[in-house]
Symmetry: C2
Subunit: 488 residues, 2 copies
């Protein structure tokens, strides 16, 4: 048992494995759950009805309102920054970015500043011996479809401290002071959108309870296989759930993966003993080089000084109508902590393409990861998808600036496309931020000697996900999608 947190004066050493004595290792419990699309509680046939019923009760009305008339929000007279009158929640200010050598070496933009670190938490527990996850049908104002499947808890630090004086967040107490108890399957800060957030991180937490707790209205225990099935449905599993899922210690089935097909290669990719093109030491060294080689610098500037953007009483938008708009919404909600509120949101222009190219290398699936700079990253560079872009935003740029590998992804024949679904970014800050998520097998003639890209196995990515600031949120979503292809 390695759960002793208060060693006595002469403590005993304990095994390093995280599993209690006499139980399967956590990786096996996760894998068994991932294999079950029909579990002890049944299948998903009633899911649409459950979702629809909850949607009726958790009625939310979202109205666009002018940015200048947002109740509770002020435009700072000196800077033009948008902030809540209490100083809480978040601020929209300007950022000046210098990235010498990049296609766009210099720009400024609005960005969201939300320095508090919230919790994205999933409760897990065995039901009839099978690991289940407690998931929530949650409304967010930016959701295109109203409801999405969410983690057990999405709590900002303001939630704990009750800044908005709303109702308590259900199940939050399970995620406080967790390291005095066993059962922590994951607990790691991970970044969020570095183009829209300035150094935002959330804690991604999974806690395994010895017994399930009651699922209150709007919550439901699901196997991991069922969550994976829902991940394949359009715009159903939210971003917060996807990032937490990516941090699970998921390795896939134990034992040899037979066969030379895609799924066998995928299963081998999660196996820590599988061969990888580059050692993890090499990957870490390459990341050190990319990080120290980048000259990207950012500086906070007043929102009123952001060049190339236009602010009207209604909204703030780019002069070329590219990238995103900053808009205002008024929300009237039932089933939330607060009955109604107003807030600014980011509304992306156009639908993004977010894709991993994958390839079987000696029978082990590798993904082509991109060492990306984003202005809001805490640590300069993170590994992102092979392709992450909004093609519309390139319309005003010189020809030849389209990102590498975009043609390969968009031109792929159907049999090479292993995952293709519309998923959205966080509905609490982003309005109808739908992106097309793709996993595409690379053709043989894809060049792969680009210095900013490397082929990694899923096991290597999982190892990096035990630490902060290595894998960006879009890549984490794609990792959750790859896991969903192990079974089913």
């Amino acid at each position: 048992m390695s759960n002793s947190r208060t060693p006595s004066a002469t403590p005993s050493a304990t095994p390093s494995a995280a599993s209690p004595v006499g139980r399967e290792p956590v990786e096996r419990r996760i894998d068994v759950s991932a294999g079950l699309r029909t579990g002890p509680l049944g299948d998903l046939s009633d899911f649409p009805q459950w979702f629809a019923e909850h949607a009726r009760r958790a009625y939310t009305r979202v109205r666009r309102v002018p940015l200048d008339g947002l109740e509770g929000w002020v435009t700072d007279p000196d800077t033009g920054d948008l902030r809540h009158h209490t100083g809480q929640f978040f601020t929209v200010h300007g950022l000046r970015v210098s990235n010498p050598g990049a296609p766009v070496p210099e720009w400024s933009q609005p960005i969201i500043d939300q320095p508090e670190i919230g919790i994205l938490g999933i409760l897990a527990a065995p039901i009839d011996g099978v690991l289940h996850l407690l998931m929530q049908a949650k409304v967010e104002p930016g959701n295109a479809n109203g409801l999405q499947l969410s983690p057990t808890v999405q709590a900002t630090r303001s939630n704990y401290t009750q800044v908005h004086r709303g109702r308590a967040v259900p199940y939050l107490s399970h995620f406080l002071d967790i390291h005095s108890r066993p059962g922590v399957l994951a607990d790691v800060r991970q970044s969020e959108q570095g183009s829209w957030f300035n150094r935002k991180r959330n804690r991604n937490v999974v806690i395994e309870l010895p017994e399930p707790v009651e699922a209150i209205d709007g919550f439901r225990w699901l196997t991991l296989g069922q969550v994976h099935e829902l991940l394949g449905r359009e715009d159903t599993v939210n971003m917060d759930a996807r990032t937490v899922l990516s941090c699970l210690p998921f390795t896939g089935p134990a034992g040899p993966a037979d066969g030379d097909g895609f799924r066998s290669a995928l299963r081998r990719s999660g196996d820590p003993s599988a061969r990888s093109l580059h050692s993890t030491a090499e990957i870490l060294g390459w990341l050190t080089e990319r990080r120290t080689g980048s000259d990207l610098t950012t500086r906070r500037i007043p929102l009123a000084k952001v060049a190339g953007w236009n602010r009207t009483p209604e909204r703030m938008s780019h002069d070329e109508d590219a990238f995103f708009n900053v808009i205002g919404v008024r929300v009237e909600a039932a089933g939330r902590e607060v009955g109604g509120w107003s807030q600014p949101m980011i509304e992306p222009v156009g639908r993004g393409v977010i894709a991993f190219l994958v390839r079987r290398i000696d029978g082990v699936l590798h993904v082509l990861a991109h060492a990306r700079t984003e202005p809001g990253f805490t640590d300069v560079v993170e590994l992102g998808p092979t392709v992450q872009c909004v093609t519309d935003s390139y319309a005003h740029l010189p020809p030849g600036t389209l990102p590498p590998f975009l043609d390969e992804v968009l031109g792929a024949s159907a049999e090479r496309i292993r995952f293709d679904n519309a998923l959205s970014e966080e509905g609490g800050r982003f309005h109808h931020a739908l992106n097309r998520y793709l996993i595409v097998e690379a053709s043989d003639d894809v060049p792969s000697d680009h210095p900013a890209y490397r082929w990694l196995t899923l096991h290597q990515l999982s190892g990096l996900l035990k630490h902060s600031h290595y894998v960006n949120i879009q890549a984490r979503s794609l990792i959750a999608c790859l896991h969903s292809l192990y079974s089913g």
Copy 2:
């Protein structure tokens, strides 16, 4: 061979191990070298003479000069910040720190800002089959003793770009564009003093060449065992060498460590398969909790606005003469890139105590690491020594604020003290910054349930040292000292 950096269209998977085919793993080559205090090139009997001869030729004269008259440096008329007239090198500005709940919840201080990431690099190569390190006898203006044993290369980014128009840095070319070549044993950014530097990081790099290069004047090939022997001599091995040494993939001897003595426990501690009190997953989760639980915030302020400090034309110092002074020096040097220059330096007040308490837990040595906040850390909290303080600086604070475990360290009987030596911090920025470094076996009645402390094995610390921002520079020095106790 895992050195392919430019996979072809159909690349082959390769083993993940970093060692070329047909050679001992790098950990073994390092261990063999650590065991040799007499190597193919002899022993250290001529070392004092070599050092002394080089000291005569590398003559340096350091004179204290008033801060206000530093050639090439200006005091900004608006802020009082000290900066070089070119905007290069570094700046001394003010930092306001808020750390609610700490013994001192609020303070401001001067701090050095040097955002560029330099290289601290050691070249390694086999000589008669034994791994050797190319070390340098280097003068720095802050060294109390003139010369210290240093890495092959200490280069700021200004060195590459020749900002100070001095001579080229010897061997620097070996450390540029390294990931196109094999032999990278370590390449990781690590933090430096978080109380004196604002978010300073350097790359810690070790490159293994297939053949040794010529050691030019002032350089010498040494076995790791010889470097370890010198680490036990007073103020001989500099901070930059110590931090790079700590990042070597050092595991100690392969095979079982027999016996129940201190050294057997130490050897087991480096073994990745040895039992640890806490799993690494638990340690990472605990660090996430400490990092997200800290309310420490910092804000850059003008140096002229730093409260509690007094600036005269001569220097800047704390009103209680505690912590450190900011002073000016004029340096006249031979054997350096530039013949002479002036610069501000930090001069600590009093000698610090930097110590690890260690304990054998089921036969495996564990060190008691402290999850420390320092205002200049990039990521809030890093693991530091059990004790890291300057006792003099507590004189003006209320009783009861002395750091935990200080009594245990200073009151230890001689047979419990495993390492005790005066070592200094970086002589390029810090003036006579000598600290007492100690490794002390904890007595049985040391309480070890403090929430900010955990017992870790050396192997766990080595694993964390593959990543940035986990282990602070003082703890890294102590890790190098612990490695020096494996043999000899």
